[in-house]
Each structure stands twice: as C-alpha cells, then as structure tokens.
C-alpha cells in the first residue's frame, strides 16, 4: 500500500528526516511514535506530497507521490497536525468544498451525512467552524480526511487537545476505521499507540530506531526484571530476603505503605524472572505479598533503551557516546515537559 524508501529531508545542515525506510501493508494500523521534533510531521507531510523529500521515494499503491501526484494523492486522506479548516465556513460548506476539491465520485449528500454520523458532528453541521471547540474542529478535520473513502488514512496526532472522553472515542473510531482503511497514526503517547496500532515505528531525531509490533516492543524492553513489591513483614527481614534472591541486582526500600506492609523496588538481571522464587521464599516465612507490579516504563526510558540497543558498544565503552546518550535523553525529557505545558507549541519544522 505504502512504500517509503530512504526518505531524507534536509534543511541546510539539519536533517529533519534521515534515511527512513518502511512499508505499510493494506489494512494495517501503523503507529508512528516519537517525541516532538523527531520528524513525524515532516515524514507525514512528505508522504502526502505537501513537502518534497531531499532524497528517497514515496510510493502509494504503485503511484509515486512526485511522479504521479494526482493519482497518489487521490488515495490519501490526511489530517495534519493543525486541521486545515476554513474558519469562516460552516461545517456543511467546508465538507462540500473538500468533497469537490477531492473530486470524489460518491453520492455527495449521502456520503457526507454518513461521515458526519461516523465522527459525530451531525449536530454542529450548520455551525461556523470558527465557533467550534477544539474537539469538534479535530473531528471536522477527521471528517475531511475520510471524504471519498481513501485507501490510506494519515492522521497526525489526532487526539491532541481532546478531553479524555473524546480521546477514547477517537481511538475507538480509528480502530473501527482500521477495518476498512490502512491507517498511519502519529503520536508521542505510548499507551495510545499500544491501544490502537498493530505495528509501531519509533523515530527519534529523524532516524528510525524501531519497527515492530507493540507486544514485541514491550517484550524487547521487558519490564519484568524491574518490579515494585509490597510485602507485609518486618522491613529489614524482607529486605535481606529479597537481596538474597538469585540474580537480584538492586533492592530499594520505598517505605511503609499500609500498617506493617512495606514497599520495595527490585531490579533483577535482564531476562531473569524472580517472581516465582520470591513468592516461594516469602510464603515460607509467612510474609504475604500484597501487591506486585512491573515498574512502568516512561517514553523516555523506552527511547533510552532503544537508542542504547542501537549501539551497545558505544553506550558501554565510549564515554563520549554515553554523554551523547544521556544528552539525548535529557532533550527528550525536555520536549516531553514542554509538551505537557503547552500542547500548542507543536512546531515540527
């Protein structure tokens, strides 16, 4: 359905997208994960023909986006980061216009009504877009992308700025759309991608760092060796017992939680699963486990592990490499912080 080969976009010295190659098969829902400024939007803009690549090719269903743009673009429905809405038009006028602009062949009235029903904008159909809330604008943008039932849907951060209820609705809608369309969805929110996508591509600083199913990705970054456990028993006794477990690397006391129960964070060697052994030993002593959970990985942890997986030699031996790594993690954290503060900044030039 979509073939992206050696895609590179250079702005002077800076490479916003650096040699990205991937294919998307018909009917797939592909997640595009990365922090702000990673090159997600740029990649999507190139795929849809809004920008041109410096190098590399994009082929949509056999049509090159530069060689045969009209045929390629007819197959794509695109929701950019900022929905391209004419604020002075009503929803009806806008969708009419987009329908004509895309030269859709379907029966106009019925098709538009069907899409409005699908994205739930029927009740604002006659209103001027300027007066709609962010959530409704996003949906009108989505409706616009769906016009003409394009084979390939490209959605750039479709849930940004929506309230939690709307986010769940839109995710459900995207899943539903994935039954009939091929969908590419970008996000910087990991759970979102996990909830919706069958396959995930992770990019950082314009480079592709992972391409896998969400399950495999979380397996590869398995969190089983990092646990938080709550045990009802004497703090030091439990601590000593936990330390004595085979292949345990580090145990930290997290303090008292409920009554005489204390919490500890454990880190075992990678690949080691200490849960069974821990249960047996604690049961022998009569210290019940009240809670056991994997320590949650944040997006920055995943990026760290992905980038360090990429170049283990450098990460372990080369000090400079390590410095660079921690620097990139730092930048990542900054960009995530910035995100939480101001969703609107989103300038992925």
């Amino acid at each position: 359905m979509l073939e992206v080969k050696n895609l590179t976009k250079a702005y002077g010295e800076k490479r916003a997208v650096d040699d990205i190659t991937f294919t998307v098969n018909r009917g797939e829902i592909l997640g595009f994960l990365g922090p702000n400024g990673a090159g997600k939007s740029t990649t999507m803009n190139i795929i849809t023909g809004y920008l041109s690549s410096s190098e590399g090719t994009v082929t949509v269903d056999g049509h090159d986006i530069l060689g045969d743009p009209i045929k390629a673009k007819a197959k794509i429905g695109y929701l950019p980061e900022h929905p391209p809405l004419y604020l002075d038009m009503t929803v009806r006028e806008y969708l009419d216009f987009m329908f004509d602009l895309k030269k859709c062949k379907l029966p106009k009235k019925a098709h538009i009504a069907e899409i409005c029903e699908l994205v739930k904008i029927t009740d604002v159909y006659q209103r001027i877009i300027k007066n709609l809330s962010k959530g409704y604008r996003q949906r009108v943008g989505l409706a616009q992308a769906l016009l003409g039932n394009p084979d390939l849907l490209i959605l750039d951060e479709p849930t940004v700025g929506l309230d939690p209820k709307q986010i769940i609705e839109i995710r459900g809608l995207i899943k539903k759309l994935g039954e009939k369309h091929t969908v590419i969805l970008s996000s910087h929110i990991l759970p979102e991608v996990q909830a919706v996508c069958e396959r995930v591509i992770v990019i950082n600083k314009g480079k592709l760092v992972a391409d896998d199913t969400p399950d495999n990705l979380s397996h590869a970054m398995s969190t089983d060796h990092k646990l938080t456990v709550r045990v009802d028993g004497p703090e030091d006794g439990v601590y000593q017992l936990l330390r004595g477990l085979p292949s345990m690397v580090e145990v930290q006391k997290l303090g008292v939680r409920e009554g005489s129960a204390y919490e500890y964070s454990l880190e075992a060697e990678p690949e080691a699963d200490v849960r069974r052994e821990m249960f047996k030993r604690l049961a022998d002593r009569g210290w019940p486990i009240l809670a056991l959970r994997s320590s949650e990985l944040s997006l920055e942890d995943i990026f760290l592990s992905l980038t360090s997986d990429d170049k283990p030699g450098i990460a372990l031996q080369d000090e400079a490499g390590q410095e660079e790594l921690s620097k990139s993690a730092h930048e990542l954290a900054d960009s995530l912080d910035g995100d939480a503060g101001a969703e609107e900044n989103g300038g992925e030039a």
């Binding site: 920008l51 673009k73 900022h82 004509d100 602009l101 030269k103």
Partner: protein
C-alpha cells in the same frame, strides 16, 4: 479548480472585502463619470477610463492580498496541496475568483454606456475597446498581486507590496525622459503599463498591447506555481 474558484468567491462575499472594493470602485468611477462626461455634456468616456487605471492600481492589491497568504497562515494550504489537483488549477481557481470580483467592479462602465445611450447613441465599439483594455490591465495586475500574495503569509505585506509594484509601474513612464540611452528608453516604455493602457483609452485596440497584458498574466501565474513548487523543496 471550480471547487477552489467557488470557495474563493464565496469567501470574498462573506467577508467585507468584495463589498468594500465594489462600493469604492463604483463610487469613484461614478464620480469621474459625472465630472468628465455628464457635467460637461460629453459622450467621451476616455477620461473616465484613464482615471480608472489609477483606481484599479490601488484597489486590486486589496483583492489579491489574502488570496494565497491566508492559506499559508492558517495552514489550509495543507488541504489544498495534498488534494488530487494540479498546482496550476489551484492557482488558476484563486486567480479567476479575484478576476471575477474585479469584473463585477469594472462592469459599471458598461452601465455608463447605457446612461449615455439615453441621451445620444454612444460609440459602443470604443466603449468595448476601453472595457477590454481595463479588463486586461486588471488581469495583469491581479496576476502580479497573486504572485506577491504567494510570497508571504502576511496580508499587510502582500497589500503593501501590491501597492508598491502598482505605483512603480505607474511611475516608470516618467523615467523615459531622464534616461539617456535610447535602448533603455524603449525597454522602459515597453514595460510601462501606462503607455500600454493609454492606447486603449484613446480607442486603439493594438494587438501588441493585448499580447503584452496577456503575457504578464501568464508569466506571473507561472511564477506563482513555481513559488509553490519551490516551497515544497526548501
């Protein structure tokens, strides 16, 4: 192309721009018509048309200033540029919408002809000659204005740029008397909109002048398409 043309035309008439432009144009044109023709018992409309040259120069940037800059600013160009249409039909749709509004403005001159006809049969051939001249002038200026509008996302800059170019085209004529070189003189009078347009107002339909204005349209529409092309690559 027709989708964009219709949307653009609609947008002219839901914003005050088209109304202001048409009202001002009608008012000024009628003032000169009254002053130069009705008041002096003359059927000669050539004075009206030569004043309309200046009026068009100043009003056309208002029509073209938001044509492409607004799309860039509000990112609606993402919808236009990712739609399955060619860049040329995108630019032409916008261009023709502006030209159509301009046409509504200059159509008042035909009404002047009808008013004169109430007193004495006018020379319709001359009036149509004038009209075609004014239309061609507008078509050329709108093409230039469209081009300027594609360069910026700021409407004010697009408007001021349009005024500046219009003014320069008006004043360039004056340079001919200053410049010594006969070659440069002929180049300047060749690109001077004023002298090209003057031949229409004296009732001469010169083929070379028609071609001149049409070429300006083609060149600047082509430039505008290239601007979009270039923006993708940079």
């Amino acid at each position: 192309m027709f989708a964009i043309f219709r949307r653009e035309l609609r947008s002219y008439f839901t914003s005050p721009i088209a109304y202001i432009y048409i009202a001002v144009f009608y008012a000024l044109a009628s003032f000169y018509f009254f002053g130069t023709a009705l008041l002096s018992n003359s059927t000669n409309l050539s004075y009206v048309f030569s004043y309309l040259f200046t009026i068009s120069m100043f009003l056309i940037p208002i029509l073209t200033m938001r044509l492409l800059s607004e799309d860039k600013k509000y990112k609606t160009d993402q919808a236009l540029l990712t739609a399955p249409i060619s860049l040329l039909s995108l630019v032409l749709g916008k261009y023709l919408a502006a030209l159509f509004v301009y046409f509504i403005g200059i159509a008042i001159t035909l009404v002047f002809g009808v008013i004169i006809a109430a007193f004495t049969p006018p020379d319709w051939a001359v009036i149509f000659g004038h009209f075609i001249g004014l239309l061609l002038l507008g078509a050329a200026l709108i093409a230039i204005g469209t081009f300027i509008s594609s360069l910026t996302e700021n409407q004010v800059i697009a408007a001021v740029g349009g005024f500046a170019v219009g003014f320069a085209l008006m004043l360039v004529e004056a340079l001919t008397s200053v410049v010594q070189s006969p070659l440069l003189q002929s180049v300047i009078s060749g690109i001077s909109f004023t002298s090209r347009y003057q031949s229409f107002t004296v009732g001469v339909l010169n083929f070379a002048d028609v071609i001149f204005f049409l070429s300006v349209c083609v060149v600047f529409i082509f430039f505008t398409v290239r601007v979009f092309e270039k923006r993708r690559w940079s």
